[in-house]
């Protein structure tokens, strides 16, 4: 069981009403890897991440986590078993302070490491320490993104899911965030990253998948895809 990938999608179909959002998607993420999923807006990337939590549920196929099918499990079950997500739109709790938001990340593991982990997050994202008693709604988009990632890390996840951490942020902030992600990846964290910003994502990743209208079209190592003509034209703006 431990020999297989940490997470695996096997022929997963997902529907949003009439819309066939994911079409027989298969992919896998090995322990310790950084894998990214790139694709245009509306390709189904966020749907794929959320389907891990059963929102929406897979209509067919299997979502295996450490060898067991979790496609029928509740969201809180999935979270309690070591999968954490910084979701699309960040979704920090607007009326809670930075510290309270961080504590919300500890639900799956309890409070025993809370203080130590909070300090770790403040080292990772010093901006959060400056704003520790500020309500999340008063922070900038970049700070909220840092908070969303830190909150996910507070559960000491085995698998970290990141949905477009660069979306809507200034280039300098994107750089900072990706530098932090690189540190995390080096420390052995398994990361599954969904991005439109293919340039940053591919440079960070061991492997990547390209998604087009609900299907996986291409896969390869980060550098292979960075060098691929088609990918360059479609997702890297020809740079």
């Amino acid at each position: 069981m431990s020999a297989g990938p940490l997470m695996e999608f096997k022929n997963v179909d997902v529907f949003y009403g009439q819309i066939h959002a994911l079409k027989r998607v298969s992919l896998h993420i090995d322990e310790g890897e950084t894998v990214s999923l790139i694709g245009a807006n509306g390709a189904g990337k966020s749907t794929l991440l959320m389907s891990i939590f059963g929102q929406p549920r897979a209509a067919s196929g299997q979502i295996l986590y450490r060898g067991a099918d979790i496609s029928k499990k509740s969201a809180h079950y999935v979270a309690s078993n070591g999968i954490a997500q910084s979701p699309e739109g960040r979704r920090v709790f607007p009326d809670m302070t930075v510290e309270e938001n961080l504590l919300m990340g500890t639900i799956p593991i309890g409070m025993k490491h809370a203080d130590e982990d909070k300090q770790r997050m403040f080292e990772l994202f010093p901006r959060l320490q400056e704003r520790r008693n500020q309500r999340a709604m008063t922070m900038s988009g970049g700070e909220q993104q840092m908070l969303a990632i830190a909150r996910a890390l507070m559960s000491r996840p085995k698998l970290l899911l990141l949905d477009e951490p660069s979306l809507g942020l200034a280039p300098i902030v994107v750089k900072q965030i990706f530098a932090t992600l690189r540190e995390l990846a080096k420390s052995g964290m398994t990361i599954f990253l969904v991005e439109q910003n293919a340039n940053h994502a591919l440079k960070l990743s061991d492997r990547a998948y390209v998604m087009v209208t609900g299907e996986i079209r291409m896969t390869g190592t980060g550098s292979e895809l960075l060098g691929n003509e088609e990918v360059r034209n479609a997702y890297l703006g020809g740079h």
């Binding site: 939590f53 929102q55 509740s74 969201a75 809180h76 979270a79 309690s80 954490a84 997500q85 979701p87 979704r91 709790f93 607007p94 009326d95 809670m96 309270e100 504590l103 919300m104 990340g105 639900i107 799956p108 409070m111 909150r151 559960s155």
Partner: protein, 304 residues
């Protein structure tokens, strides 16, 4: 200011504190699942019967000292009322979690009718009562006049304030409170973080019902009588208080309760007792026209 004003201030504060306790149930449930729990007034009504049963039972076992009777009654009533709150949500609302917004509202009205009729059948339609448990009063002299502050009213005020403080502490400082707030602010995200939101919603119903149970004991101590229909008018008053303070806001519910209680008592004292309900509901209409979000509520922002 004359004695009548201060007397009505005292009466209004006690009444308002109790409205506030019941309003907490409306506002927390609204905050977390966006529905008005119209059966909440009935929870209060049931708790009045439970309080009377507890007092009778304790008397039967020869317990008559006020502290013991009130402690036993409070524990029994709050626990059993909490069970009612839990059961109501499980039976009438949870199965409708993913249906239209109107469905649980209708279900709530049905639950309210069921509770009224069940109490009427099992306890009889007549008014019931309890003996006065706490005799005596303080008199505060103002000029030639005086304000009468019964020990019962003092007890009600102290107990209601303690209840509200305890609740505020739970919501602001504990893990359970943070889970409630997270579920209220973004239920889907709360689930993704590992919170069993169905369970949190159950807790909110239990907490709301427990507060109504506390209110039920306190009002019963003050008035001594109640019937199966007692939940209706007080429920609507507490709902008014919740809207006045800003539905969804916890401090708003407490503040709204106090303001409504004082306004109502002053109106009774200065104008007319018969029209006090008209006055309260006119207040509700005015709030809905001029400040629909309530005193401490935030304007409704539609989530995209």
């Amino acid at each position: 200011m004359d004695a009548i004003f201060w007397q009505q201030m005292v009466n209004g504060l006690t009444l308002g504190a109790v409205y506030g306790l019941i309003a907490i149930g409306y506002t927390m449930v609204y905050g977390i699942i966006g529905m008005i729990n119209f059966a909440h007034g009935e929870v209060y009504m049931v708790s009045a019967y439970l309080a009377a049963i507890a007092i009778a039972l304790l008397g039967f076992f020869g317990i008559h000292s006020f502290p013991l009777v009130i402690l036993g009654t409070l524990i029994f009533t709050i626990v059993v009322t909490g069970v009612y709150g839990f059961a109501i949500e499980r039976i009438a609302y949870k199965p409708l979690r993913n249906s239209t917004r109107l469905a649980p509202l209708i279900s709530a009205i049905g639950m309210s009718l069921i509770l009224q009729n069940y109490v009427q059948l099992s306890q009889g339609a007549r008014q019931q009562g309890i003996p006065t448990l706490l005799e005596g009063s303080l008199r505060l002299h103002i000029g030639d006049d005086f304000v009468q502050l019964t020990y019962t009213k003092v007890f009600i005020l102290v107990a209601a304030v303690l209840g509200m403080l305890a609740l505020t502490f739970i919501i602001q400082k504990t893990r359970l409170g943070r889970m409630c707030r997270a579920t209220q602010q973004d239920r889907k995200m709360a689930q993704i973080l590992g919170i069993n939101t169905d369970r949190v919603i159950s807790y909110v119903f239990i907490i709301g019902a427990a507060m109504a149970g506390l209110a039920g004991v306190l009002i019963t101590l003050n008035y001594g009588t109640f019937d199966f229909y007692a939940g209706f008018i007080i429920g609507i008053k507490a709902f008014t208080a919740a809207v006045l303070g800003g539905i969804g806001s916890l401090p708003g519910a407490m503040l709204g309760g106090l303001i409504l209680g004082i306004a109502e008592a002053q109106f009774s004292g200065m104008v007319n007792t018969d029209y006090k309900d008209v006055f309260s509901f006119s207040l509700l209409v005015l709030i809905l026209i001029f400040r629909p979000q309530g005193l401490l509520g935030r304007p409704q922002v539609t989530k995209v």
